[in-house]
């Protein structure tokens, strides 16, 4: 293809990304349930189908966790309607064993036709407030099969040839506790896909299919070249790593996730052989979820300006033995996989690559101490509140930067709710949402501090908590320290308080009961003793690190007047490295 085509490719690629942005704007503004419009727990993207495989071609930055998982959803949706796909159709799907991850992450897909063939597929994937099933909110720590996770939604047409299929739509909404929210949510997702369909059709009319296809291929090739260049810069070899999930919510601890990264020239193979067999509890990660987290880990190792598309995964081969916790068989429960063991999957990949390219790896912060509360409004409608403020945080360090803010990039693009909005939408009041000192991974670059959150529930609530990152907090890289441990307390009153060890299920709290969380900070990067003493002092002044912490974690001695005692510091650091 000649140079002009390259230019054209950039132009068409840019237009598709813009369309994905439009979809994203539509969803953000019109979805109903806070978990999704306020938290932005969704992604919009556009996929290509070439007859046998689906490929990511354009996206709008959103909740990155969703992004690559949609690839498979699109393939399965097409397979499901092989000879019955029409222009104007819109498909909804969420089946962990049919291209999905955990059930609350529902995907809406619309085929865009050109000359009687479906070519591009705009899709929205979002986390729904509820998915029916045994437990409100879709997180059931007692789940032992996927039906105890919630309603399974194999690909189903909610719009056929542009006409709303009311019975199919109502079937989904009728099995949802939050019908009053979910109806609006689905409408906005469908609206976004239909809008994208119009825009994409315009693109076809303008450039013609061959040009568009060529352009998409060029963009994918381009990204692939960039990623291959990155991988080629790593020393060839086999790099083994393992990490562990705290527990499987069924009494077993330290569930092994193993990864062998093989670098050969510009090829990368990630082999998860040796990971634990699938477990009874709801941490099993369906293949789409596993690939999604692998994609994130790989993307994080590459330059930020590479267009996000299938090209990232082209050089990467992923081996996931069936029947393991990273590729379970139906009907293993999977409810919590988008946090754990998703986080551990990304972590282990980064640990392995880190041995080859330490400066490219960093951050992994998705070991969320999930908690949600539900209750009823005065009019009897149920509300479900995911404790976003409480579990969001733990940004880890990366080469060249301390962790900062709440989440790190890569692990999510969600926005935490407004505290004031929250107090208006729910009978609950946030009493504290602030950094706590030390509760993070020290390092040449340190993780973001831990976050303490106290939510007071004004009415009676039922609360479920699913701990993670307690036995195995986020690990640091290149000698960086381990992140802070998560803690969640359920307080009924001044005396009665329960600290959640692994999980709490439907724990009742009386009015003015409290959910108290400490979200551990992220892992550090590099040796803490290499951190300039003055930066440690600044952290002390800013209350990110205590004086004691400065000495314990960084070997930095501060004099009474708060200045650095250079000599003492040198001595302690020398002693530490000596021992």
């Amino acid at each position: 293809m000649n140079k002009r085509d390259h230019i054209l490719a950039q132009i068409i690629g840019g237009s598709l990304d813009t369309i994905a942005d439009e979809m994203s704007a539509t969803v953000t503004r019109t979805a109903r349930s806070p978990v999704f419009n306020e938290a932005h727990d969704f992604t919009t993207a556009i996929f290509e189908f070439d007859g046998n495989r689906s490929r990511l071609v354009a996206q709008s930055p959103g909740c990155t966790l969703h992004l690559y998982a949609v690839v498979m959803a699109v393939e399965r949706a097409i397979a499901a309607f092989k000879y019955d796909l029409q222009p104007g159709d819109v498909i909804i799907a969420s089946d962990p064993y049919d291209g999905g991850t955990h059930i609350p992450d529902l995907v809406v897909i619309a085929p865009v036709f050109h000359e009687r063939r479906p070519v591009l597929f705009p899709a929205v994937r979002a986390h729904m407030g509820d998915v029916g099933g045994p437990v409100a909110g879709g997180y059931n720590p007692l789940a032992r099969d996927c039906w105890q996770d919630g309603l399974i939604m194999p690909p189903i047409k909610v719009v056929a040839r542009g006409e709303r299929r009311r019975d199919a739509f109502d079937l989904i909404v009728g099995n949802n506790r939050l019908a009053h929210w979910v109806t609006g949510d689905l409408d906005s997702m469908i609206g976004a896909c239909q809008l994208a369909t119009r825009r994409i059709t315009g693109l076809f009319d303008r450039y013609g299919l061959p040009v568009v296809r060529k352009a998409l291929q060029a963009n994918i090739d381009y990204a692939e070249r960039r990623v291959r260049a990155e991988i080629a810069s790593w020393p060839d070899g086999e790099y083994r790593a393992e990490t562990f999930v705290d527990h499987d919510y069924d009494g077993h601890t330290d569930i092994r996730i193993a990864c062998k990264a093989t670098v050969r020239g510009s090829d990368l193979t990630l082999d998860f052989t040796g990971s634990a067999p699938q477990v009874a509890g709801f941490i099993n990660s369906p293949i789409a979820n596993t690939l999604s987290f692998v994609f994130l880990a790989v993307a994080g190792c590459c330059d930020e300006d590479i267009p996000i598309n299938e090209g990232y995964m082209a050089p990467v081969e992923v081996i996931v033995p069936e029947g393991t916790v990273v590729n379970p068989r139906r009907p293993a429960p999977v409810g919590n996989c988008t946090c754990i063991c998703g986080a551990e999957i990304a972590e282990v990949v980064l640990m392995a690559i880190g041995q080859a390219a330490p400066e490219r790896v960093g951050v992994n912060t998705h070991k969320n101490p999930l908690a949600f509360s539900y209750g009823r409004y005065d009019d009897g409608r149920m509300w479900v509140q995911l404790n976003f403020l409480g579990f969001t945080g733990g940004a880890g360090a990366a080469y060249g930067t301390d962790g900062w803010g709440l989440y790190a990039p890569l692990m999510t693009g969600v926005t935490t709710p407004s505290i004031e909005m929250n107090e208006i939408q729910y009978p609950s009041r946030v009493l504290k949402h602030e950094y706590v000192a030390d509760a993070t991974g020290p390092g040449l670059w340190r993780g973001a501090p831990g976050v303490e959150t106290i939510v007071e529930q004004l009415a009676e609530t039922t609360n479920s908590v699913m701990m993670a990152g307690v036995r195995h907090p986020s690990y640091g890289y290149a000698g960086g320290g381990t992140g802070g441990h998560n803690r969640v307390l359920l307080r009924s009153d001044a005396e009665t308080v329960v600290e959640v060890a692994d999980f709490a299920f439907q724990h009742r709290l009386p009015p003015s009961g409290r959910l108290e969380t400490i979200r551990g900070g992220g892992g550090g990067w590099g040796s803490a003793h290499a951190r300039p003493a003055e930066k440690v002092r600044d952290d002390v002044l800013d209350g990110y690190v205590t004086v004691a912490g400065a000495l314990r974690d960084y070997g930095v001695v501060l004099a009474a007047d708060g200045t650095v005692d250079a000599d003492a510091t040198a001595r302690t650091r020398a002693a530490a490295s000596g021992s």
Partner: protein
Amino acid sequence: MTQWLVGIDVGGTFTDLVAIGPRGEIHATKVPSTRDQSEGVLAALGRLAAEIGRSVPELLADLPLIVHGTTVATNSLLEYDGAKVGLITTEGFRDEIEFRRSYKESVFDPRLKAPHAIVPRRHRIGVPERVTHTGEVLRPLDEAAVRAAIEGFIRDGIEAVAVCFLFSFVNPAHERRVAEIVKEMMPSAFLSLSCEVLPEIREFERVSTTVVNAFVGPRMHAYLSHLEERLRTQGFRGELFVIQSNGGVQSALEAGRFAANGLLSGPAGGVTAGTYLGEMAGYPNLITVDMGGTSYDIALIEGLRPAVTTESWIGRYRIALPMLDIHTIGAGGGSIAWIDAGGALQVGPASAGSNPGPACYGRGGTRPTVTDANVVLGLLNPEFFLGGEMRLDRKAAEEAIRREIAEPLGMPLIEAAVAITDIVNNNMANATRLVTTKRGHDPQQFALVAAGGAGAIHAGKQAEELGIQTVIVPGLAPVFCALGANVADLRISEARTHIGLTDTVDFEALNETFQEMEARARQRLPGADFVRNFDVRRSLDLHYVGEVHEVTVPVRSRTRRITRLNLEATINDFHAIHERLFAHKDPAQKVEILTLRLDLVGLRDKPRVVAAEFGGEDPAPALKGTRPIHFDVAATETPVYDGALLRPGNFIAGPAIVEQWGTTIVVYPGHECLIDAFGNVIVEIGQVQKAGERG
């Protein structure tokens, strides 16, 4: 109007002045901008005085008003060169400004660094206090804690104090009390209260805006008093007004107190000028683009009302104030073309600026820029830059492009230059789509106003990309913002959060709030003697229950009162707008009011610009000659006209080049242009060709 009107706009490269005389005669000048912006302002005034043969004091003495657009606030934020700020906030919430609701500019780059802390944590103090969302005091303000905090501030040499408590938009008592204590303990400190800066729900948006206001406030305040001082000593007795981000103008005093309102003081003038132009030339729907040396500003005007947003991020800080919705990307004449690690050609966002500037400036710049490409393609005349005030070095331009683009990509020089312009055009087109289609507007319903030195070179291609039919190049394109300063109205924007379902609205309370807002607006609105009449615009931020983003809907009311009837009309509009923006509506769903907005506009008399008689169609008298131009890879011998000699009514069929002072207009093949009665160049776009079939 018997006196001179003067508008002065300070830009990154030039300080522009437009003066309109008693008989509607127009003087425009450009002088280089200066570090102390008042230098440039006085230099420009000096030029004007000279041109109309008067001394500066004479001129200043009978100027009733100077309207000023300045980038002081913007630069102070972008360069993080602001005041030392201390923040007092509700205990337990001092990190919200750092949490940023977990927003990060990149979701894929783990190495993304934190933004510069304009208020480091050590200066963020939480004090015990709490009011509920209904306004009751849950926990009284701990004044001792406040005093302790302020003592710390004094010790650390804090210059500005920002105060932001939860739910202060419902009950500001605690913030006001803190203000009293600050005034008492550190009287010289600059004060920024969230209940004054942005009395709206959402703590992060509010605290960020309030802190930014404190950060840029002292600089802006100092600059404006300094400028006013200098003008006064030179005999100025009139009023100094400043252009605000909302497109209105404001007294220097208020502009200093609420400096966050001045963050778009520069580009806002261009949008205002666009509105004026649209009214004059009869185009109510416009997309104004301003392509300068480093940036490309896009704004949308519908029905002569510029689009306004409350969702801006500037300098990585969230500003939730209503601002003209100006979308800026790093694409200008100085934008550098480069080849990335994957061998793809990129243009910008890095810019060679004005120093060293593009290679062709011959000031030591070696990187190829958009301007260089335009020179190579023949679109720009090296001999006629800034009307000949500056010569361009064609060789240097060719050399830079050959060395850094053509050879690495293995393309001929011309193809490389074409590629550079294609990429920058496309970047601009996509950016323009974002402010049109993404907001539910169809670009084809709009005319494109091309301002700024480089705007008119690329506008034609933009229009093709977007399917726009008409491009307007204003006679004053190079000094468009300064023109805006002359025509901007006085404007105060007030907002109050007032939550309630539309079907259970307490109209008494609603109207009371609106009246209180109007009263405050009137007391904040200066210079009533320049105002022909007042226009009060009320609107409501509405959403379906559960939605957490709002749509601002103008209230359909002829009277001052909101009634059941006009509220219903407004809600119908809401459904319609919602559908236009988001492809669906849900009239069955309950609608909630979140925020009341009121704009008090003091309408000024617009300068009367004389409409000239249409002469003949033939532009021949203005023909300077021809030169080969590469609209694409192949060159076309193209006629070149002298804009100064073109007359209203002249008609030119593309391809052609019109060179006028400060800008070059490219009439692409298939396009046609006409000079209108006000000296604007109106370009009509022909059939859009399929991009796929080119090259």
